[in-house]
Symmetry: C2
Subunit: 154 residues, 2 copies
């Protein structure tokens, strides 16, 4: 629910509401987050910004990602290896399929997911705030190149 442009505006609103300033660095980070389809890392965002902001600091990217997380405007996807990636398009919990080879992230749309949260609440007595559902595997592209590499013996 939201084109990149809409998301961009929505985030600007949130920032104004919460008395945060719209610095060029901040706007550029947001721009990347809402336009990128690739769930970038902080490092990747930093590198993309090097051209336009040669003095950009990693700390600034971190600080802005933290801010946007706290406003609920980006979703953090924590990898088992400890690295994190960010989604500014769909900041709400949703399932991911993550390629362990190339690190690509795809968002499959799963029905049948509906009331899992309700079930957990019922079974555990927890008040559920959020969740994550991530599938790890090998994407089609990487499967293909694997086969090209090894199975050529036929």
């Amino acid at each position: 629910m939201g084109s990149p442009q809409q998301r961009y505006q929505q985030i600007l609103c949130k920032l104004r509401e919460s008395n945060h300033k719209l610095t060029p660095q901040r706007l550029a980070i947001i721009d990347i987050l809402v336009h990128s389809r690739s769930h970038p890392t902080v490092e990747a965002i930093f590198e993309m910004l090097q051209e336009d902001f040669p003095t950009m600091s990693l700390a600034t990217v971190y600080r802005n990602v933290v801010l946007l997380k706290s406003l609920g405007e980006v979703l953090e996807i924590g990898f088992p290896d400890g690295s994190n990636r960010y989604d500014g398009n769909k900041p709400y919990p949703h399932p991911h399929a993550i390629c362990v080879r190339c690190k690509k992230i795809v968002d499959p749309d799963l029905r049948a997911l509906g009331n899992l949260t309700a079930q957990v609440r019922q079974r555990t007595g927890f008040k559920i705030l959020t969740h994550r559902l991530d599938f790890f595997g090998v994407c089609r592209d990487c499967l293909q190149s694997e086969n090209q590499t090894k199975g050529v013996g036929r």
Copy 2:
């Protein structure tokens, strides 16, 4: 499928099969992992071992956890804050309910979970290797103490 004792033996088998030695430190770490119902951190395991192994090193705990992970005999639960907890009882993927307040982890048994993996494979073309499904919220105990603290004004 598997009492702590069974799990313990199963892990010893795996170790012998893979030519790993059964050192006292290793056995003690496994013992904690299979008996603990609390999904301990490396740090916590380390502390529990201090009494019996005063010279125990954190690195040793880390190395053994890595080994057991690689054998598929412990499940790592990565927290959004970067810390990890470990489950030696149920080393296969299963849903968790995690209290963001006290860090308690509960395993709800969810039906309706059956063929999500198949759906993801179908929709994405990924070969799925594993997954994680974690719910974050506040457990009953913490909800209660919250209420005691604030809502007494009535």
